[in-house]
């Protein structure tokens, strides 16, 4: 009978029953260590699974993410064996995607602001930042908006604001970015597709 890797991992969780052997004087250290591993596997077993796609090279390999239902944190990411392109395999970057999650202490978790001439970051709220950013955009746009060019043609553009990025965000976000940039009249628009 062919056993899948997933079935094997699930099945081996039943070995936790071996802990009762301690009363018989048998050295259980290796078994306890093994049991810790079993607890991890238990967590993965009881985790919520969802599918995702790798965030690197454009082969578009499939991922399975396991999220701990108690903490809401991702506890494991591996290749999706069902995915027809990668069939569960991943390169080094894809295999390490766990380190892009909240598990990485370097993740930005606060809105940061650097004031003019300052040498450090300050933490801010979203409301403060969005309001200030919008005011900056509006002030710059209003000061230099070009409704008509020198030939008298309607151009409705602004050349003092530029936008870059990104090929690294979801398509629905890309679409909103294009809509935002165009509605403001921004014409200096570019991103990784060209470079």
């Amino acid at each position: 009978m062919k056993v899948t890797r997933r079935e094997f991992l699930v099945g081996s969780g039943t070995l936790i029953g071996g802990l009762t052997l301690s009363s018989l004087g048998i050295n259980l250290e290796p078994i306890i260590a093994y049991a810790d591993e079993m607890k991890k596997i238990d967590k993965v077993r009881s985790a919520r699974q969802s599918t995702s796609i790798c965030c690197y090279c454009a082969v578009g390999c499939g991922l399975i993410c396991s999220t701990d239902t108690k903490t809401g944190k991702i506890i494991n990411i591996e290749g999706d064996p069902e995915h027809p392109i990668n069939e569960g395999t991943l390169c080094a970057k894809g295999a390490g995607i766990f380190q892009t999650t909240a598990a990485n202490e370097h993740r930005l978790t606060k809105v940061l602001y650097r004031a003019p001439y300052s040498d450090n970051w300050q933490e801010k709220t979203w409301d403060w930042a969005i309001t200030r950013i919008a005011k900056n955009i509006k002030a710059t746009r209003d000061a230099s908006f070009i409704a008509k060019n020198s030939k008298g043609q309607v151009v409705n553009r602004v050349e003092t604001i530029a936008h870059m990025g990104s090929s690294n965000v979801d398509s629905e976000e890309c679409w909103l970015i294009t809509a935002m940039a165009r509605s403001l009249g921004i014409v200096y628009i570019d991103h990784q597709a060209r470079v």
Partner: protein
């Protein structure tokens, strides 16, 4: 890609040129190894011997920047040895078209060049047309003015010795590659070309790729299983971001960005809609008006009406000829003309050429907004090496974003599969979706413009902006459905009636009268009429057995997995290769992949149509008048190169490349101070600038710091030992790093000259980890390819010395 990743397994001969697929698209090699198991041969042409070369059946090297010479020689070989697939060339390309008698080529330039404007007048790059306006043809391909004969004439100059002197590739190796690859010019063999930035990051980039396309057309390799021109894109969703046009020259769906001289929607539509007098040409671009109007309805909703040209005047216009691509953007920032910059999930102070110029330009900004999941050299540009924050006035906002696995949405891979993914966890702390950030910014701007008024507020106030859920959060499904498109009222098309609010199940149903909306026509059909998200499908059925998986996810256009597939059959609709029946005309209908147009085979002289439906003439272009630098690819040297002369003509560089002339842009050609050719690339463990991967210990342990790869021969000449610290310097900047002395590079013998080449990854920046190095782009030149403005990262000149 014209094909897709799994399809690689069906190739008989694979040409990987301009790519290190094993290291940068590793899982592609799963399918190449499968091809090898079936007897396929892999050819790798690359200046360096890489892991891709190690798995290839044949590797040879060429000097960076000489691909057109190499491939032009292959075209000569194919034509002279009659390796081309004659039926395919006669019926599916413009080989038979007669060219205007004024068209000419002399000493590196085509007819119509104006050296003062550095532009071509392309009016002579045209076909002779008959009284009905249809190009005249000679199907015997003998007329000296037919494309086929002009092609032969053009590449007759690319003989083996000349090519070898330019590329540094030994004549024997050229012959081997040409013979191996041209063996696919027969019905039952498929050849695929795989390329990446090794082709695109040159000042001859577009023509590089065109040469590959032309070879594929001559050999009958486009539209078939195991064939195609397969661009391996480098970012998870660069296909999506390109489709949705985060670019100055396009709007979503590859519609051209409107120019100022096209004052009304009608004028714009007339300009972008090509005409064809040939009833056998589907000329699919004639449908562009439907897609443009549907896009305007998606952007402006009810505010776009027939009376106001559907809001056409609100779309910003470039002046005719105005270039707003990236190098001009940086140049304007440097000149203090740009006051504010938004950079989302990109690291330009590491990734753009001439990094010192970029870093200086950033300090001229009044305000700067950055969105990312980690800090990087761009967000923190104000404390970069050599800068004093006390002198930099830019106010900087660093906004924390959700990572890819923390977001629901779609990503389009290189094979055009638009794959849906799910939110595995909420982003940590205050981090939110980039989509949420954009929604909040526009919502606030609308508020401010409504309250205060300001410069031309209409484009902002009239932008349809209902993409949040009931809790005010970005709803990716709402955007995805908008992109797919809706019927805006009940409408009957043909014999079917569609209700208001239903999803448009195919772009063939989009209308030019305002009754439909669609944010991007090529994505129309990603939802079924009943609203089912086809991008999220996970069915493994494979009815053809060819690995198309038509019910796994959804591919654009209309779930067609291999495009131009009607070129895989003969005029009667029979597959050229019955062993790989991608498509076949059986009992009055097409069976297999989604046909590239429903029309019957061309043998049906009344209803049949040519297979290349996106071209006005319906056939593919060996002669390509659409580009700015010539209808035939021609070898030109990189801007910075080691040669005193171009061995093929007096025209040193491509005549339309974008050059910059500030002091900081200086370049040095054939200069003894910078005698070695350099190229740049990536590594498996790091990705692009390392902005995401350098924060990950598992990856950085494997690739901790920047290094330059140099040949043993060069190491001996410069007195450099493996592992020693060296300084790499170009006309623009310098960088200290470790030297890796290796046999992976060998000197090139170009005629009488010995030319050394070195290489470096650009995966490092000064911010983190400490002392990992800095970007290779401190060395690269500010020069752009003439059609697109893509910089030349792959061929420039440096010196390498011990420190």
């Amino acid at each position: 890609m014209t094909n897709h990743w799994i399809d690689l397994q069906h190739s008989d001969v694979v040409l990987i040129q301009g790519s290190n697929a094993a290291e940068n698209h590793p899982i592609s090699f799963k399918w190449l190894m499968k091809a090898k198991e079936r007897g396929a041969k892999i050819i790798h042409v690359d200046p360096r011997f890489t892991r891709t070369s190690a798995r290839a059946d044949f590797h040879t090297s060429l000097r960076s920047g000489t691909d057109i010479a190499f491939l032009g020689g292959m075209i000569k070989y194919i034509l002279e040895n009659e390796k081309y697939f004659k039926d395919y060339v006669v019926n599916y390309t413009n080989a038979s078209f007669i060219v205007d008698e004024r068209f000419d080529f002399k000493d590196g330039l085509f007819s119509g060049y104006d050296p003062t404007t550095r532009k071509y007048d392309k009016s002579t790059w045209a076909y002779k047309k008959d009284a009905n306006g249809i190009p005249e043809k000679d199907f015997t391909l003998q007329n000296p003015r037919c494309v086929f004969q002009l092609l032969k004439k053009h590449y007759s100059r690319y003989d083996l010795e000349k090519v070898s002197s330019i590329t540094g590739t030994p004549v024997g190796d050229l012959k081997t590659v040409y013979e191996m690859y041209s063996s696919t010019g027969v019905k039952d063999k498929a050849g695929t070309v795989m390329y990446a930035l090794g082709q695109t990051q040159h000042t001859t980039a577009v023509q590089n790729i065109r040469t590959l396309c032309m070879i594929q057309l001559l050999l009958g390799n486009i539209g078939i299983c195991g064939g195609g021109v397969n661009a391996m894109r480098g970012e998870p969703n660069v296909q999506g971001s390109t489709d949705f046009a985060i670019l100055s020259s396009y709007i979503p769906g590859y519609l051209p960005a409107p120019q100022a001289s096209l004052k009304t929607l009608d004028e714009y539509l007339k300009r972008i809609t090509p005409k064809s007098a040939d009833p056998r040409s589907a000329n699919w671009q004639q449908n562009y008006p439907k897609y443009m109007v549907s896009l305007l309805k998606a952007w402006y909703g009810d505010k776009a009406t027939k009376e106001n040209d559907f809001g056409y005047s609100w779309v910003p216009k470039l002046d005719d000829g105005q270039d707003c691509t990236i190098l001009n953007m940086i140049d304007n920032m440097y000149e203090k003309k740009i006051k504010g910059l938004i950079v989302i999930a990109q690291n330009p102070t590491v990734s753009l050429p001439n990094a010192d110029k970029v870093r200086e330009a950033m300090t001229h900004l009044d305000w700067f907004v950055h969105v990312n999941i980690f800090d990087n050299e761009t967000a923190s540009f104000w404390k970069g090496p050599g800068l004093d924050p006390k002198k930099i006035k830019t106010e900087v906002f660093l906004l924390p974003a959700a990572a890819s696995v923390e977001k629901q949405g779609s990503q389009a891979n290189s094979g055009r599969w638009v794959q849906w993914k799910y939110e595995a966890a909420k982003a940590p702390g205050d981090a939110i979706y980039t989509g949420d950030i954009v929604i909040r910014m526009v919502t606030k701007l609308k508020e401010l413009y409504k309250k205060e008024g300001g410069a031309t507020p209409e484009p902002i106030l009239n932008l349809k902006w209902d993409y949040a859920d009931e809790k005010g959060r970005f709803d990716p499904l709402k955007v995805a459905r908008t992109v797919n498109g809706y019927f805006l009222e009940d409408i009957t098309i043909g014999d079917k009636t569609y209700k208001k609010g239903e999803c448009v199940p195919s772009f063939t149903l989009l209308q030019a009268d305002g009754k439909t909306s669609s944010g991007c026509w090529i994505n129309s059909g990603s939802f079924a009429q009943d609203g089912t998200n086809l991008m999220a499908r996970r069915k493994k059925d494979d009815p053809t057995g060819l690995g198309l998986y038509p019910q796994w996810s959804w591919a654009w256009p209309v779930n067609r997995r291999i495009i131009y597939n009607r070129a895989s059959v003969d005029l009667s609709g029979k597959p050229y290769n019955p062993k790989r029946p991608l498509l076949a005309w059986v009992d009055g209908k097409w069976v297999g992949d989604v046909p590239d147009g429903p029309w019957p085979p061309m043998e049906d002289t009344k209803n049949g149509k040519y297979p290349f439906i996106m071209k006005p003439d319906g056939v593919s272009s060996l002669f390509g008048p659409g580009l700015g630098d010539g209808p035939f690819p021609e070898h030109y040297e990189p801007l910075e190169g080691p040669m005193a002369k171009n061995l093929l003509s007096s025209q040193m560089n491509s005549p339309i490349i974008k050059i910059f002339t500030k002091e900081c842009d200086k370049y040095a050609r054939c200069d003894p101070r910078f005698p070695f050719v350099m190229t740049t690339y990536s590594s498996t463990e790091h990705w692009c600038t390392g902005a995401i991967t350098r924060w990950q210990s598992w990856l950085t342990e494997a690739q901790p710091q920047v290094y330059v790869e140099i040949s043993e021969e060069l190491a001996q000449i410069q007195g450099i030992k493996n592992g020693e610290k060296v300084k790499v310097e170009s006309a623009r900047g310098s960088l200290t790093c470790v030297a890796m002395v290796t046999t992976r590079f060998r000197p090139f013998k170009c005629g009488d000259q010995i030319i050394h080449q070195v290489g470096m990854t650009y995966n490092y920046g000064w911010l983190f980890p400490r002392d990992c190095g800095d970007t290779a782009n401190l060395l690269t030149p500010t020069v752009g390819e003439g059609n697109t403005g893509t910089p030349e990262y792959k061929a420039f000149m440096v010196n390498v010395k011990k420190v």
